[in-house]
Amino acid sequence: MIVADKKPIEEIIEYLKDHTNILVLGCNECVTVCEAGGKKEVAVLASTLRMHAQKEGKEIKIDEVTLERQCDKEYLDEIRDVIDQYDAVVSLACGVGVQFTAEQYHSTQVYPGVNTCFMGATEERGLWTERCQGCGQCILATTGSICPVSRCAKRLFNGPCGGSTDGRCEINAEVDCAWQLIVDRLKALDKLDEYEKLCPLKDWSTDRAGGPRKVVREDVQQ
């Protein structure tokens, strides 16, 4: 899923300083799972903003809505009738949701309430770690299902580098060396001889480098 983290409250307060009618808009999917932008977090943020406003002697109206997700028009349509009541929206969805909400509501200010971080998994409650950077040409079949693009700090295709120590990356002893993991997995799969295969140069044109990307599926388009 997309993993996000809460933005510091001071930042959000700064965005909203000239606004008096605010909608805090949550999302029921990824940001709910990583406890950054779901219904609960919407309620806490709204309450915090109200208390802050009262302390400052400001009159302010803050409403709370959580949509199923903010990356599909059918759910964003659910607030079409009420959106004009607000002069600002704080969206706690990932960067996709913030932008898509703004696209549907062109003349409403939509501010981000979380920092979107990466595509990752829940290792345990409160710990989410990165697994994928969306390079567009998945090579997991050749690396024992461990991604060198997202998990190697130097995204080496023929790793490890000379800084790998005790299975950890040179940048931080808490970070696994992706190539140690790959070697261990190839061993477990009895495929260690594949280690010596030279990996060809990466085609980054399907990655961020090629520009904003799209996927088109004519077989399902209407």
Binding site: A153, K154, R155, L156, F157, N158, G159, P160, C161, G162, G163, S164, T165, D166, G167, E170, I171, C177, Q180, V183, Y195, E196, L198, C199, P200, L201, K202, W204
Partner: protein
């Protein structure tokens, strides 16, 4: 092995001599005097001089310009090139730039992560990795083509090197990794500095068992310890470095003002031992910010004067 380039280093190795290389770190500014001074200190005791490429990610005068300085002094440079900071366009471009100044040696590296240096907030590139860079240089040299497929006007005549670290983990793939670099086209290797001689010899045995020592020239990396403090720092804080406790104990066993001399002694003894190891084709003496000791070390190891080649 016959020579494929005008490289003086390649020539010396092909004639069966033990080669000696060293390295200089460029200055943290545009003052070329530093490079010139360091090169002057060592020039009569080495066959080629590596110039590091923004080592430990500290921004410095670039390796290419420093190598040109050495060429202007009539010396033989080894251009170190990391893949951290340049994409494949810039890498190919700099290779051609070096070749245009008759720089005939290149060392292909990944590079230390930028979080170690002075621009930890910067982007890194890693468009291709060090092994793919080896392939790229060989492709440009031998096929005369760019990676994109077009012909290039003037093939870079480069003797291609890479690094090897027998002391990094996982140990079990350190010989396969050398095999990989050889398959990619590497022609000479400079190892990480060696303190654990037993482990290095174990790696060399694995190398010989696969006949790899006959496919690549291996230069053993040597760095003299200046002090107990340096030895402890290297042991604890440098990734991929193996410093046995005996080294530290030996340095602790002498007076403080004798530690540097003892460090040099340890280095020279190691070189004497490694000269006898089959497959060791020479030494890469790295005495960063201590370049003035290189002549003494090379002489004490019985490697001076250096052979003359045309």
């Amino acid at each position: 092995m016959s020579v494929k380039t005008p490289s003086k280093l390649e020539k010396i190795l092909s004639e069966g001599h033990l080669a000696v290389t060293s390295e200089c770190g460029p200055p943290r500014g545009s003052n070329a005097e530093h490079i010139i001074k360091k090169a002057e200190l060592i020039k009569d005791h080495v066959d080629a001089i590596n110039i590091t490429d923004n080592q430990t990610s500290m921004t410095r005068l670039c390796s290419l310009a420093s190598c040109i300085r050495l060429k202007l002094m009539g010396l033989e440079p080894v251009l170190q090139m990391v893949t951290r900071d340049r994409n494949r366009i810039a890498l190919q471009s700099d290779i051609l730039g070096a070749a245009s100044f008759d720089i005939h040696n290149i060392l292909c590296l990944s590079g230390d992560h930028q979080s170690f240096g002075d621009c930890a907030q910067g982007q890194n590139v890693h468009d291709i990795d060090s092994i793919q860079l080896i392939q790229a240089v060989r492709h440009m040299r031998d096929e005369g083509k760019f990676l994109g497929g077009d012909d290039l006007d003037g093939k870079p005549q480069m003797f291609v090197g890479a690094a090897a670290n027998p002391f990094a983990d996982p140990f079990e793939i350190r010989v396969p990794r050398l095999a990989k670099k050889i398959a990619a086209g590497v022609e000479f290797i400079q190892t990480q500095c060696i303190y654990n001689l037993d482990k290095f010899e174990e790696w060399m045995k694995g190398v010989r068992d696969r006949g790899l020592h006959e496919k690549v020239y291996i230069l053993a990396g040597m760095t003299p310890m200046k002090s107990v403090g340096m030895a402890k720092y290297m042991q604890k804080r440098v990734p991929g470095m193996d410093v046995p406790d005996e080294i530290i104990k030996r340095l602790q066993g002498v007076e403080k003002d004798q530690q540097a001399a003892e460090g040099i002694k340890i280095c020279v003894e190691a070189m004497q031992r490694l000269k006898e190891v089959e497959g060791v084709a020479g030494f890469h003496v790295m005495a960063i910010e201590w370049e003035e000791k290189v002549p003494e070390i090379v002489e004490a190891a019985g490697l001076h004067p250096r052979p003359k080649v045309d």
